[in-house]
């Protein structure tokens, strides 16, 4: 089931990014990554890409995760959004305000994120029925 799910993962920490990439890849997700919100936005706007779910860090240079979420909500409303944060409550609260579907606080267990993703995807397919 997970095999068809296309993920965009955004984090300005390269180690986290590659760990996430390896993990979701091995779980049969189709994964693309971006090192900050601006790169992510360019990936999204590239017509040859399309995604089902966005997993994004919040505190990043140029376009923050909160900014990215707001833009995605407006321009790609079908995308499910998971926000991750390691910086106290503020960014998380702003992410909820920007209508992220789920906000998780770091450190986050990879299996837990995977669970969240597949739950969100099920919700989506349920709705489509």
């Amino acid at each position: 089931m997970a095999g068809t799910c296309r993920l965009l993962i955004v984090d300005d920490n390269e180690d986290i990014l590659s760990t996430f990439y390896e993990f979701f890849n091995s779980m049969n997700y189709e994964v693309k990554t971006a090192i900050d919100g601006f790169v992510a936005l360019k990936v999204l706007r590239d017509k040859s890409n399309s995604f089902d779910c966005l997993i994004t860090d919040l505190v990043m240079p140029n376009i923050s995760g909160v900014g990215l979420i707001s833009i995605v909500k407006k321009e790609y409303p079908h995308l499910k959004i998971i926000a991750m944060t390691g910086y106290g409550d503020q960014p998380g609260a702003l992410a909820s305000e920007a209508e992220a579907d789920v906000v998780l606080f770091k450190p986050i267990d990879l299996f837990k994120i995977e669970n969240t993703v597949s739950e969100l995807m099920n919700l989506k397919t349920d709705k489509q029925k």
């Binding site: 601006f38 936005l41 360019k42 706007r45 240079p61 140029n62 376009i63 923050s64 909160v66 900014g67 707001s70 833009i71 407006k74 106290g88 503020q90 960014p91 702003l94």
Partner: protein, 360 residues
């Protein structure tokens, strides 16, 4: 007329690209960078590329006004809200409605006003001083600061929640010394601009040696300082004089980060230009007016800016008066006209400075 964003460095190119991607999102923007790097130029570019460009761009400098005045400027007031409020007045939030509100020097905003600002940004509503009515506001907030706000937050000078609310899009402009390849296009642009504004000015553009020196300089005042130099050059037409008048750094120039070095700094310029030569230059000038050889205690007693200003201006005045008198063959009324002072003042000054015609 808005200033175009001039620059060919990677940082400026990246900022231009970012602007084109976010100008229509109307998400809060925080622009950081030293004074004079072009924060307002960036704010203007965001505005003019956005769908709000036909509405107002309203600027307020949060550092320039005392707290109460800043508050009434931002939110406006009702008639009788405080002593002196004879007439109701709209605030910047109102004039900027549907357009852009540029909060310059946000890092200097007093804490008490920061809470109110946070509330307005959260709720999208504000009420003028002395009013119990709430007004809806639809402004695109672009804020700028030369402070390191993370540091200010640690020092409890800036609210963390306000920081995160503003920092949705973050644009950092590096100082000019870290993007030297922008110096040449900036000179090109401003030289042409001033030439067209003052067609009679004849300042030449820098030759390659001068350009190399200009690239070697630290530019503590960034683009604004460079701009002022070009303006001066249009009048003086002497890059040598311009260099003489540049504030000198006493410390040596920090090495550039690796990647930055290849494509910009011309090799012919040497570091000496910015260090030793300048330091001695500085003390030479000062020693002309105060005795630097005394103990620092005595020295600090001697240094009075007022006194030095008088001494320095007297010296220049004496030189100029003598120069003009010589040119006009000691015709004092002609000299007074040229110097744009009265005949009486000239005589007084000649006496004071002991300027006498040569004895034949």
């Amino acid at each position: 007329m808005t200033t175009p964003l001039i620059g060919v460095s990677n940082s400026i190119l990246k900022i231009k690209e970012l602007i084109s991607h976010v100008a229509n999102t109307c998400l809060n923007v925080l622009i950081t960078g030293e004074t004079g790097v072009g924060k307002e130029v960036i704010a203007q570019s965001l505005y003019s590329e956005s769908i709000r460009s036909s509405e107002n761009f309203v600027k307020i400098n949060c550092a320039a006004l005392p707290e109460t005045l800043l508050e009434s400027e931002l939110y406006g007031f009702e008639k009788g809200a405080f002593t002196g409020a004879h007439k109701k007045r709209p605030g910047k939030f109102q004039t900027a409605d549907k357009g852009v509100l540029f909060l310059d020097e946000i890092g200097d905003m007093p804490l008490s006003l920061q809470s109110k600002m946070l509330h307005v940004l959260q709720s999208g509503e504000f009420s003028p001083l002395g009013s119990d009515q709430d007004f809806k506001t639809d402004v695109w907030v672009i804020a700028a600061t030369n402070h390191n706000l993370e540091k200010s937050i640690a020092q409890k000078m800036f609210r963390e929640d306000l920081f995160y609310r503003l920092n949705i899009i973050k644009i950092h402009i590096p100082p000019l010394r870290e993007r030297k390849e922008d110096i040449s296009p900036l000179i090109e642009y401003y030289h042409r601009l001033y030439q067209s504004e003052y067609p009679n000015s004849n300042g030449s553009k820098p030759d390659s040696d001068t350009l190399a020196k200009l690239c070697q300089y630290e530019w503590p005042g960034n683009v604004r300082q460079l701009q002022n130099c070009i303006k001066k050059q249009m009048v003086l037409d002497s890059w040598a004089k311009i260099f003489d008048e540049l504030p000198k750094e006493q410390e040596s120039i920090p090495q550039l980060p690796e990647g930055d070095q290849q494509n910009n700094v011309p090799l012919s310029a040497t570091n000496e230009f910015a260090t030793n030569e300048f330091a001695t230059n500085q003390t030479t000038i000062i020693s002309e007016f105060v005795d630097l050889s005394t103990s620092s205690e005595k020295l600090f007693e001697d240094i009075s800016l007022k006194k030095i200003k008088k001494l320095a201006s007297d010296r220049v005045e004496k030189e100029v008066i003598t120069f003009v008198l010589e040119k006009v063959g000691w015709n004092r009324s002609r000299a007074a006209k040229i110097l744009k002072i009265s005949y009486k003042t000239l005589l007084y000054k000649m006496n004071e400075f002991k300027v006498h015609p040569p004895v034949k």
